[in-house]
């Protein structure tokens, strides 16, 4: 990855992009690298411009798509926006029959399940990244990073399937009784033990965002200059002290960025969460209780939504989700960039 900046194109555009100026054309003819007349040169320049126009169109398409997503979401949700206004975000009612909607329980569920996922995933990811870069024997490294990559390749719906039939029963039988017994006093682990619910959603999310946080943390850690490590070791630091003081401290903004990027993924996670969270729009203190997220509500209710207000309310929830993820991802991008300094954000396998 470090070799990339050296190969950056250093404006080779001078060679071919501006020969439209007449004197350039003359020079080229004088040089007679390729014998050609004025018309041929013009044709060549023209072809270049067409090509350039085409790839610029592709680039514009990317901008247009994001614009279109935003426009369509706003357009389709204006009914709900004008009917409920800002209150939509702070109301707890979800009543399709009376056509009265508020998104608070969904926002709450999205935030809580994502944070829960982060709390579990971040320490594990940092540990994995440190292990891969600093401790792991070279031979094992490729295998382990392939395994982490594979974790990212498993489809969301399969995580959900596994969540329903393996994780939820496991939580119900082993984990939840334990938590209720020793940590029940916090109020976070009380109530009926279904297995599925907010806790299950958090665990599933943590597994799903692990690979992305780990791989970016790994890149960030690799980007910390070698000199820093050597300096720490030369001062008599143990390996752990070196990691803590030289590596982790320097990589901190980047690791934070990786975490935020993981948060972005967690917020938008749909299928797996829909399958294990219980899908009940309630705000409960206990993590054993079922919840609902913005993404899963949209996925679950969109096809069966009747009535324009209902559809529009779901669209507005998608809009909220879109805006939140946009902000979160932009923040993450800035943080990661601050450490890697424009090195490509993702490692190419």
């Amino acid at each position: 990855m470090q070799t990339v900046p050296e190969h950056r194109p250093s404006r080779n555009s001078e060679v071919s992009e501006e020969p439209s100026a007449p004197d350039t054309v003359v020079t080229r003819e004088k040089l007679a690298v390729v014998p050609k007349n004025r018309a041929a040169v013009r044709e060549k320049v023209f072809a270049d411009q067409i090509f350039r126009g085409l790839v610029i169109l592709c680039a514009l398409a990317v901008l247009a798509i994001v614009g279109l997503i935003f426009f369509e979401l706003v357009n389709q949700s204006h009914l709900s926006i004008s009917k409920f206004g800002f209150k939509f975000l702070i109301k707890q009612i979800w009543d399709p029959v009376a056509e009265d909607f508020g998104a608070l329980p969904f926002i709450y569920g999205t935030v809580v399940s994502s944070l829960l996922g982060l709390i579990i995933a971040v320490p594990l990811s940092i540990g994995t990244a440190l292990f891969l870069t600093e401790i792991c024997p070279r031979r094992l490294r490729a295998v382990l990073s392939l395994l982490v990559e594979l974790l990212a390749a498993i489809p969301s719906v399969i995580y959900g399937l596994w969540g329903i039939f393996v994780l939820a029963p496991f939580l119900r039988v082993y984990v939840q009784p334990f938590l209720a017994r020793y940590f029940g006093w916090t109020g976070l682990f009380s109530g009926p033990k279904y297995g599925w619910g907010m806790l299950a959603a958090g665990v599933i999310i943590s597994i799903m965002i692990l690979p992305i946080i780990a791989s970016i943390t790994r890149e960030v850690i690799t980007a910390v200059p070698r000199v820093q490590r050597e300096a720490a070791l030369a001062l008599g630091a143990t390996k752990w002290e070196m990691l803590r003081m030289a590596v982790l401290r320097n990589a901190r903004p980047g690791i934070f960025g990786a975490t935020i990027l993981g948060l972005g993924r967690a917020l938008g996670e749909t299928m797996a969460v829909t399958m294990v969270i219980g899908n009940r729009p309630e705000i409960a203190r206990s993590l054993f209780a079922p919840g609902y997220t913005l993404a899963s509500a949209v996925a679950n209710e969109f096809t069966e939504a009747v009535g324009n207000t209902y559809l529009s309310a779901l669209m507005e929830m998608a809009l909220v989700l879109f805006v939140i993820t946009l902000i979160v991802n932009a923040l993450a991008g800035l943080l990661v960039w601050s450490v890697t300094r424009g090195m490509p954000a993702r490692a190419l396998a």
């Binding site: 190969h7 090509f51 398409a61 692990l210 749909t270 949209v298 932009a330």
Partner: protein, 270 residues
């Protein structure tokens, strides 16, 4: 002590992977047979039946999605690498990353509003639009990275021979980087092949064979979801088998292409 904890973390991370893969294989093999791969679903409660239509539907969706995602993605990637070292390039780069982070379900809703609403019915086309949009940022950003790995001297050599820039990019730069570009397409496939959220209200699903891009079509991930939430043992067994088929398809395609491409290697770049 601390180093031990770090190692432990790495170990813990691999546990769910093995657990999930093992469960999928063990529970999935049970209902895997020829009929499963070739037949359409039987009505609920009847024995047998398969997901042949969903497998075909998934492949078709992927194919149509690539028609949208691959050219646009590679084009945007070429722009970023060859013409994008400026402010506009940075804007595109940033937007592509943003698009990459947009939840798939939101993209599905956009495709619904763009295609399903005017057409007034669900269709494979709508599903392909959603999946195609998701491919673009993955392909363009990876293509950019790969193109930047192509040594500058190769470009200069071609330009020095009097070859126009567009020809240089198409026949020299893209060719040299072809292996990496195929990898980028594979990455995009791996990303969208398992998507079900954006298909729920675009491709919708279909109990029968359908090859018509204008009609709803079944897909493997969506079928897994539908079967998983049914209260029947038999449906669950089929869901696991479908999961096994889906994972195998993803892993086989990705490794197959990597193998082929890996042997051809990135020409001229060591």
């Amino acid at each position: 002590m601390a180093l031990g904890l770090i190692t432990l973390a790495a170990l813990i991370v691999t546990v769910p992977l093995f657990l999930i893969l093992a469960t999928v294989v063990v529970r999935g093999l049970g209902a895997l047979n020829w009929a499963f791969l070739t037949q359409i679903p039987k009505p609920i409660g009847e024995e047998g039946g398969g997901m042949g239509n969903a497998i075909a539907g998934s492949i078709l969706l992927l194919g149509y999605a690539s028609l949208i995602g691959v050219p646009l993605g590679i084009g945007a990637g070429v722009f970023l690498a060859e013409y994008g070292r400026n402010k506009f390039g940075n804007v595109v780069r940033f937007t592509a990353d943003a698009l990459n982070g947009v939840p798939s379900v939101v993209i599905g809703m956009t495709a619904w509003a763009l295609v399903v609403v005017p057409q007034k019915h669900f269709s494979m086309l709508a599903g392909s639009v959603a999946l195609g949009i998701m491919m673009i940022p993955v392909i363009s950003r990876t293509t950019e990275e790969v193109l930047l790995l192509v040594p500058q001297s190769i470009r200069e050599a071609a330009l020095g021979l009097g070859i126009p820039k567009w020809r240089t990019i198409l026949s020299v730069v893209l060719r040299t980087a072809s292996a990496g570009i195929v990898t980028s397409i594979m990455l995009a496939f791996a990303r969208i092949a398992g998507e079900s959220a954006p298909l729920m209200f675009t491709a919708f699903g279909n109990e029968f064979w359908s090859m018509n891009p204008n009609q709803p079509v079944a897909s493997l991930p969506l079928q897994i979801y539908k079967y998983a939430i049914q209260p029947y043992e038999q449906a669950h067994a089929q869901a696991w088998t479908a999961a096994l088929v889906l994972i195998s398809m993803i892993v086989v395609t990705v490794t197959f292409f990597r193998f082929i491409v890996g042997r051809r290697a990135i020409k001229g770049v060591s």
